[in-house]
């Protein structure tokens, strides 16, 4: 009886965990697609480019020069509705710093919660998740760190400090996990940090910085032809053969590559999906076997309880009473197994969420309950009932007189 309960809980738990993971992953992926039609970046793996530029989980494929990217930054491009440049490569305590334009926020429908959008160099607006995890407030300052891993040796401690000027409202998208600033700040951090730039001293930085902000108007990105960025997120006005050709021509005629997000994400799903499918089948087999084991244990226990059942008949219980008693027992077993399974899967999801958050910067949750889990409950109860039907018929057919005489 205990074994069938454990088996049942395991099966239900696995299915529910898969459901939770799948739904939340799908949700994240969908939300982060943000209607981006094309990502342009350095040559390399297109999947990597997508993962890096849209999901912020992989490393960049390299940089592209503004000179080459210039046509796509042109606001009057006939096919392009919106282009958002990204400069990646730095982080703060594991959270990525993204040099971009304020139009980045529009992609993810992100709104300012408190403070404002970054305007000047070294001003940052941070996602809600970053703010709560790192306990950052408006006015807080920090040095950025090179790369995406936590390493004290890589901190740009001779560079300018970033200052938090705004915090975004939670969006449920990747924007929650990012630190956003302008592209120039990224360039400047790296200029300062480079060893041949030793003429500056720390005191001067602040002063210089303020000078920058007020005297020199920063040039538009499109004119910084000597500089580099990581990638471009592009929304087309319409998707048609011209946009297809554009992507192909970028891949064939430039040192850049154009990657199509839906295609790459489907590729990813196809690769991961095999394991997921196998797990799902495994879970179904476990549930089936546990249903069988409920059936067997109920059937077995009837033999031990034959006399008790006959006794109940003597005391006035009808056949249908015994039938419903055994059915109820099956359903109760299944319900208990379901409860344990759901409990385990949500605990498991919470543990996974913490693990995934620290490694992927994605927020998952074990406290979200899905509509599908109601179907899972109904399915579980149905299995418990089905497993109990034959034993219940057996019980209701107990021949009182014969059972009492035999014992």
């Amino acid at each position: 009886m205990l074994l069938s309960l454990v088996l049942f809980a395991l099966g239900v738990g696995l299915i529910s965990l898969l459901l939770l993971l799948n739904t939340q992953l799908q949700e994240k992926f969908d939300k982060n697609l943000a209607d981006i039609d094309l990502v342009i970046g350095a040559k390399g793996s297109p999947l990597q480019l997508i993962l890096c530029s849209m999901y912020h989980i992989d490393a960049p494929t390299g940089n592209i020069s503004i000179k080459e990217a210039k046509p796509f930054l042109n606001p009057n491009h006939p096919l392009i509705k919106k282009t958002v440049p990204l400069s990646l490569g730095d982080s703060h305590k594991g959270y990525r710093i993204v040099g971009t334009l304020p139009s980045f926020l529009e992609l993810y429908n992100a709104e300012i919660g408190t403070g404002k959008i970054w305007e000047n160099d070294f001003e940052v607006t941070i996602g809600a998740g970053v703010a709560s995890d790192l306990k950052l407030k408006l006015g807080d300052q920090f040095h950025s760190s090179h790369g995406f891993v936590l390493d004290d040796n890589l901190i740009h401690d001779d560079g300018d400090k970033f200052k938090v000027v705004g915090i975004l409202k939670p969006t449920g998208s990747v924007a929650d996990q990012l630190i956003l600033t302008n592209t120039q700040s990224i360039w400047k951090t790296h200029d300062h940090a480079s060893p041949n730039d030793e003429s500056h001293e720390d005191h001067d930085h602040e002063g210089h910085d303020h000078d920058h902000d007020h005297s020199e108007e920063p040039k538009p990105l499109i004119e910084e032809v000597d500089q580099e960025i990581t990638s471009l997120l592009i929304q087309f006005k319409n998707r048609n053969y011209q946009t297809l050709n554009m992507a192909r021509s970028i891949n064939e005629n430039t040192d850049m590559q154009a990657a199509n997000p839906p295609i790459e994400i489907n590729r990813l799903h196809a690769m991961v999906g095999v394991g997921e499918e196998a797990l799902r089948i495994l879970a179904l087999i476990i549930v089936f076997v546990s249903g069988l084991s409920i059936f067997i244990s109920l059937f077995d226990s009837l033999r031990d309880r034959r006399y008790e059942l006959a006794l109940m008949r003597v005391m006035g219980a009808s056949r249908s009473k015994l039938f419903s008693l055994i059915i109820l027992e099956g359903i109760l077993l299944a319900a208990l197994g379901f409860a344990i399974g759901i409990f385990l899967s949500h605990i498991g999801m919470e543990v996974l969420a913490n693990f995934m958050k620290s490694s992927y910067r994605y927020s998952f949750s074990g406290t979200v309950f899905l509509k599908e889990e109601i179907y899972l409950l109904l399915g579980a109860l149905a299995i418990g009932m089905l497993a109990a039907i034959i034993p219940a018929i057996q019980a209701s057919r107990t021949d009182i007189s014969k059972t009492l005489t035999d014992s």
């Binding site: 006794l311 109940m312 003597v314 006035g316 219980a317 009808s318 056949r319 007189s401 009492l404």
Partner: protein, 211 residues
């Protein structure tokens, strides 16, 4: 109160057991005596509504139970007939009190702890109220079994070989217990046995001939 007429039963429709007519009045104590194989147990099960007769009628408290439907019979049995088996059996996972409550519930009677306490006190096993039935001595088990047979105030108490496994001393004790309790409840008592020791203790006797 308990009456049978031309009662016949057969397991295979070839060898027929014919039973003598019985007529027990309310509150009377009867002994039904017969050798092994004479159909004693079959008759007890017929009278207790555990089997349906092939021919003839059984009338208990003005109800012809051979005419009742299966579920009517279940209900009638739970309420009107108390059976004490040779070996006491209980629902093992339940306590003494819960077993008695179950008997009330299954018979469709309201659960009355007062009634349960009263019976257990009369039978001197009140202190075992919360005990699991497995932990009772054989004597205590038999007392609880009697309490269970009585709990719904049945009109008829049937006892199947209540004494045959006991020595003389305990035989007298159990017999007295059954008779006192039946008298107190004003129930008709019918003891089915092959135990010859009981012969001289009952005025009303039915003897089953070997078939």
């Amino acid at each position: 109160m308990l009456k049978t007429k031309n009662l016949e039963f057969s397991y295979n429709n070839q060898n027929w057991l014919k039973f003598p007519d019985i007529d027990c009045k309310e509150g009377e104590h009867w002994l039904l005596i017969g050798l092994s194989g004479s159909g004693k147990t079959t008759l007890l099960h017929l009278l207790g509504g555990l089997r349906t007769p092939k021919k003839g009628d059984i009338i208990i408290a003005n109800t012809n139970i051979s005419k009742l439907s299966s579920s009517e019979l279940d209900h009638f049995r739970g309420k009107q007939i108390g059976i004490v088996f040779q070996k006491a059996h209980f629902v093992r996972s339940l306590t003494v009190e819960e077993n008695l409550k179950l008997a009330q519930k299954l018979a469709g009677q309201p659960v009355s702890t007062a009634r349960i306490n009263e019976l257990l006190e009369r039978l001197n096993v009140q202190h075992k109220l919360k005990a699991k039935t497995d932990s009772l001595s054989i004597g205590e088990q038999q007392r609880v079994a009697i309490a269970r047979a009585l709990v719904n105030k049945p009109n008829i108490i049937l006892a199947d070989e209540p004494t045959s496994a006991l020595d003389d001393k305990h035989c007298d004790e159990v017999l007295e217990l059954l008779e006192t309790q039946a008298t107190q409840e004003n129930a008709t008592l019918l003891i089915v046995t092959h135990d010859a020791r009981l012969k001289e203790k009952f005025e009303n006797q039915i003897t089953l001939e070997d078939n």
